[in-house]
Every structure is written in structure tokens, then in C-alpha cells.
């Protein structure tokens, strides 16, 4: 039996390459050929958003030559009898928010249209050192500011491989779409409010947001520095674990990357869920939405299909021996988005100060009278609407006269959100949970153009994921079935600090127990 190589998972590819069943070059060539079939034109500045509407458009930059050279280096190691690394020959993509030396590192923004990074991000360098092969840089919301990928300055933006009329989610939309469409087994993403987990849920793949500080942020072009995390998108839990294993750990270039030793994630996978306490919280089964007209907040239950997917997972896990704990209170969940509107914007406004046309990136070609005009024109022309919105919001809520009312208050609310988690994960507490099981998103993938433009409604797509970013804790989104329209539904596991191993274990048990369910055999539309 011959494999269709692009459909293979990362751990299968690594095993076969290490054994010599395939060369890394064979794998890379096969995946590049697959990309040529399904991806269509890459996103480009001033590109047509509606071009080739049946293709994925995951990429901004395909680095085929570089990939083949890397693959050859892996093959040379194997030929020389050296260890090619745990990701030997595994093709992966990188969200274009990470720097990779010698490649365009655009953040999907015009303001970095010509920025060729002079250095490589630590997580990228570690994946490469482990034998991984970078296929290219994939699309995202501009500077990661969005939940649909539509805000990219590079169009067409990615489409959902299950239904190209739907968004892939965001901001790691290119990453999730690429992994779902077999354009690389893994993708490196970032998660600031749900930017890995939400697109993973929309595209039916696994998305891990590790604990803050578990993986280096060096080379991640910052959005909200206290919330940003580097994580994995993969087609199964084993691959997500394999990828984290290669990236995690202290980094001399990141003073916030913890020195805690990295456990053996793969070894923990088959341990099962016997005796683990997994919680369900009513606060994750309702959602607060602002009315688009009046702005009034109103609460409503989640759609039945989402609730059903989570309850099904709870039953599956209970059957495997987990103890399901119901009615776990998480009262501050609903304040996650309002607090995020403040905290992330303050950090974003500051992080975007450096894009001023002075030392790299876009500088206005227009004639200017003085330096200030150069700043205004370069930033005005270089930034899209979403960065501008975040800059202005951040400046407003951190201005001296408003910062106590907004920023400091939001930071205190953040403490309360964290305390919700500490209380239920406390081994001496009333709930003593190992993990919370929740939906990842309030809805499945929405139609392209359905929400974009309403920045408030868009942000509420992250309502169930953002609390983990405030609290710093790890979260993983797993495929939890398909709805009646054939769109993926995501379920989420949240655990205490540095409990990635436990989340993988639960995810793996769930994956094994549902392996024979019918939806597991269904492929995304673009690869049927």
C-alpha cells in the first residue's frame, strides 16, 4: 500500500524518514506538489479577495527552494548515520508573525511589506534543528488582529478547507487551513486570545496554546506581550505533543521563558484518564453578546450542536474512567473579552510604536515636510484598519487620565479571572480538577464577510478561549465532530499551569476512544 504522503501525520513521516522508507526530499516534493494542487495563488498586497474562491490560499510566501535544501540536509544526516532529529523530514508551515532569517516576515501587514528578517525566531530554529522542513510562511489576520483572517493585507486570505465560503478562523487561519488541507503536517501559530484554538476548531484540527512562558516568544512579532503564546497546530494530539516537545524550554533570548524542565509529553500520552477529574462549567455554555445596534449585552445559551459535542466528549471520557464534575463555577469568564479589549490594546499600541518608517519596513514614498509627517504618512499608509483601531483604543485606555478607570481595573479583573482557575484546580479545593472541558468557540466557522467589520462581534468569537490567556494557563482545542452542515466543532480542555502533559493525555484518550466514529473518516472538502 502506498501512502498519500501529504495525508500522513508528523509522527508517521518522522518515523518513515528515519527508517529510510522515504527520503525527506520525497516527502517535501510530495507536499509541495499537493500545495500546488489545493492552495491556489498566495496572498499578496492589493490582491483580489475573491480570486480562486475554491482554493485554500493558506500561504503568503512559499519557500520551496529553502525547503528542499533543508530536506537534503536531513537526508545527508541520515546517510552519514547521524541522528536527523525527532521531526526528521516533517514538513511544516510558519505563521507569518514569526521571523525566519532571509524570508519576508510580513505580519500580514503592508508596513512590513519589504522586511526580510535578519534573524530566526527561537521556536522556528528549534523545529528546524529537530529535522523539520519549513514549507513557507502562512497567512494570518494583520498583526494577528482578528478571528477570521479576513483582515490580512495579503489577499485572497485563507478559506476554510471544509467549506471555502467560510472563514478558517483567526488569527492563525493560514496555519489551521494549511494543516487541515494537508499542506504540511504541522504549523507554528500564536495564541493571544484564542488565535490557535479558534481556527483549529473551525478547521477541525488540534490546536495547543501552551502555558505562558513554556515556549519562547523570541521572534514572535508581538501583539499583547503578556498574553501572546507560541503553540502548535496539528492533525492529531500526538503530533501536537511532538511539536511542543521540540519547541518548549528556556531560551537565553526570552527572559519570560521559564526554566522548568520539559517533561516527556509523548511518554505520557497512553496513560489514559482513569481517576482524572474533568469539570464542566455552566459559564462556558452560555455566551454574552453585545447587540450590534444598541450595544446592550445579552446572554444566550450556546447552540445545541456545540453543547452536544462537549457532552458527548464528557461521556466518552467518563466511559474511559474519568470523573466528570458538573456545575463548576467560573464566574468571571464573561469579563474576559472586556478586560481583553483594554489589556491587549495597551500592549499592542506600544508594540506597534516601533513601526515608524525609520529603520525597517514601509516608509512613505510621498514627499514630506518633516519627520512627524513621515511618521504619520508611513503609519497611515502602512497599517490597515485593525492595527489602527488597536493603537487608538490602547492609547485611550492607557492615557494618564483614564488608565486607573480602564487599564488598572482590567488588570485587577484579570486577577479575578486567574483566581477562578486557581480555585477549581486547587488540589486541596472543593473541585480538585485536572482539567475543564468546554466548547472552543460559540459557533462553527462563520461565512466570509459575515462578521468582519464589526470589531466587537468579531472579538466575542474568542469569548471561551481568552480566559486562558488572561490566566496564562494551557488550553487545547480538539476536533469534536461535525455539525449538520459538515462544519467542524471544537472542544477545549483547560488545565493548570504547565499541565500540557495532562491535556495531551486526555486528548489522546478521547481521540482513541472516538477513532471509529463516522465523522473521523470525513475529509475536508478540498482534499476529498
Amino acid at each position: 500500500m502506498t501512502d498519500y504522503i501529504p495525508a500522513l501525520s508528523a509522527h508517521e513521516i518522522a518515523r518513515k524518514v528515519r527508517r529510510g522508507e522515504y527520503t525527506a526530499r520525497q516527502v517535501t516534493e510530495a507536499v509541495l506538489a499537493h500545495i500546488a494542487r489545493v492552495d491556489g495563488c498566495p496572498g499578496q498586497l492589493d490582491g483580489d479577495p475573491n480570486a480562486e474562491p475554491d482554493r485554500v490560499h493558506a500561504f503568503i510566501t512559499l519557500t520551496a527552494e529553502r525547503a528542499l535544501a533543508q530536506a537534503d540536509a536531513v537526508d545527508a544526516k541520515i546517510a552519514a548515520g547521524e541522528d536527523p532529529g525527532p521531526l526528521a523530514g516533517v514538513p511544516f508551515t510558519v505563521k507569518d508573525i514569526f521571523t525566519v532569517k532571509g524570508t519576508l516576515s510580513s505580519a500580514a501587514s503592508r508596513i512590513l511589506e519589504n522586511f526580510i528578517a535578519p534573524y530566526t525566531a527561537t521556536p522556528v530554529a528549534r523545529l528546524e534543528a529537530a529535522g523539520g522542513v519549513i514549507l513557507g510562511k502562512v497567512n494570518l489576520d494583520e498583526f494577528t488582529f482578528g478571528s477570521s483572517n479576513e483582515s490580512s493585507a495579503y489577499q485572497p486570505s485563507p478559506r476554510n478547507p471544509w467549506n471555502p465560503a467560510r472563514v478558517p478562523g483567526g488569527s492563525s487561519g493560514g496555519s489551521a487551513a494549511a494543516v487541515a488541507a494537508w499542506e504540511g503536517a504541522l504549523s507554528l501559530g500564536t495564541d493571544t486570545a484564542g488565535s490557535i484554538r479558534q481556527p483549529a476548531a473551525f478547521c477541525g484540527v488540534v490546536g495547543l496554546k501552551p502555558t505562558y512562558g513554556r515556549v519562547s516568544r523570541y521572534g514572535l512579532i508581538a501583539f499583547g506581550s503578556s498574553l501572546d503564546t507560541t503553540g502548535s497546530l496539528a492533525r492529531n494530539v500526538t503530533d501536537a505533543a511532538l511539536m511542543l516537545q521540540a519547541m518548549a524550554g528556556a531560551d537565553p533570548h526570552d527572559g519570560t521563558a521559564v526554566t522548568l524542565p520539559v517533561p516527556d509529553y509523548l511518554a505520557a500520552l497512553p496513560r489514559g484518564v482513569e481517576g482524572l477529574r474533568i469539570g464542566l462549567s455552566p459559564d462556558y455554555f452560555r455566551i454574552t453578546y453585545p447587540d450590534p445596534q444598541s450595544g446592550e449585552l445579552y446572554e444566550e445559551p450556546l447552540p445545541d450542536e456545540i453543547r452536544a459535542a462537549v457532552m458527548h466528549a464528557a461521556e466518552v471520557l467518563a466511559a474511559q474512567g474519568a470523573e466528570i464534575v458538573e456545575d463548576v463555577p467560573m464566574p468571571h469568564t464573561r469579563y474576559g473579552i472586556p478586560a481583553y479589549f483594554v489589556i491587549s490594546r495597551v500592549e499592542a499600541a506600544s508594540n506597534l510604536h516601533r513601526f515608524d518608517g525609520v529603520k525597517y519596513g514601509y516608509r512613505t514614498p510621498q514627499k514630506v515636510r518633516d519627520l512627524h509627517e513621515m511618521y504619520r504618512k508611513s503609519r497611515g499608509e502602512g497599517f490597515g484598519l485593525q492595527p489602527k483601531l488597536r493603537i487608538l483604543m490602547g492609547m485611550y485606555v492607557s492615557a494618564a487620565q483614564y488608565s486607573a478607570q480602564y487599564y488598572n481595573r482590567a488588570l485587577k479583573i484579570r486577577t479575578l479571572i486567574r483566581r477562578d482557575f486557581e480555585a477549581v484546580f486547587d488540589p486541596q479545593g472543593a473541585y480538585r480538577l485536572d482539567a475543564l472541558l468546554t466548547p472552543t468557540t460559540p459557533t462553527p466557522a462563520f461565512p466570509i464577510g459575515g462578521v468582519y467589520g464589526d470589531s466587537v462581534l468579531m472579538q466575542y468569537a474568542d469569548q471561551l478561549t481568552v480566559a486562558a490567556n488572561h490566566a496564562g494557563i494551557p488550553g487545547i482545542s480538539l476536533p469534536g465532530g461535525l455539525n449538520a452542515e459538515g462544519l467542524p466543532l471544537g472542544i477545549q480542555l483547560l488545565g493548570p499551569d504547565f499541565s500540557e502533559s495532562t491535556l495531551f493525555r486526555i486528548g489522546y484518550a478521547y481521540e482513541q476512544a472516538t477513532a471509529e466514529e463516522a465523522w473521523r473518516a470525513t475529509r475536508p472538502l478540498v482534499v476529498r
Binding site: K101, G295, K359, L385, L389, M393, M395, Y396, K412, L416
Partner: protein, 106 residues
């Protein structure tokens, strides 16, 4: 809907943010800002103890997992030429930008 950010406040912020906006952009952005602030006002009603600490990071960073400050050792960077290559205007090693308006009066 109450407008917290008036056109005057908005224009002042645009100036501080060093942005030049088209009228359409300005109208959209000001509208969105006011909507977002309305969502943010949900925070105002939460009862808060005066002594609730602020959280700069979610993860608490106890000393045993916090990286130590780095040793004071010189490692020249090998990427200087690549960094210079990114600069929009360079002359004799200097980055060149337009002048800053003078405000000296006397």
C-alpha cells in the same frame, strides 16, 4: 448610544498615535472605538476589593522557574549587514530621516 470619544478627543489621539487617516477610516474607527468602550463598561460594574492586586502576567513566576538575569558577556551580533540592509535610507552608516521641526524660541 453615548459617544465617549468625541471627534475632538479622537483627533487628538490620532495626532498622538502619529497616524494619518482618510475621512472614511476616521469615521469607521471612531464608531468602532465607541462600541468597544461600551463593551468595556461591563467592567465598571464588577465589585472589586481595593486591595485586589493587578496581574501583569497570568502565570505567577515563582523564583524557582524564573530565568536568572544574563551574564555580562559580549557576543557581537553576526547580522549587522542584514539589519543595515533593512534600513530605508542609509548614508555613511547613518540612518537618514527628515528633520524634526524646531521649537526653540529664543
Amino acid at each position: 448610544m453615548q459617544e465617549e470619544i468625541s471627534p475632538e478627543i479622537f483627533n487628538h489621539m490620532v495626532e498622538l498615535a502619529a497616524l494619518e487617516l482618510t475621512p472614511e477610516e476616521a469615521a469607521y474607527l471612531r464608531g468602532q472605538l465607541n462600541k468597544q468602550l461600551q463593551a468595556v463598561h461591563a467592567l465598571q460594574v464588577i465589585p472589586l476589593d481595593e486591595d485586589t492586586p493587578i496581574a501583569s502576567h497570568g502565570v505567577p513566576y515563582p523564583p524557582e522557574i524564573s530565568p536568572a538575569p544574563r551574564a555580562d558577556e559580549w557576543h557581537p551580533d553576526p547580522n549587522r549587514e542584514d539589519i543595515i540592509a533593512q534600513m530605508p535610507a542609509v548614508e555613511d552608516g547613518y540612518i537618514v530621516v527628515p528633520d524634526i521641526p524646531h521649537e526653540e524660541l529664543e
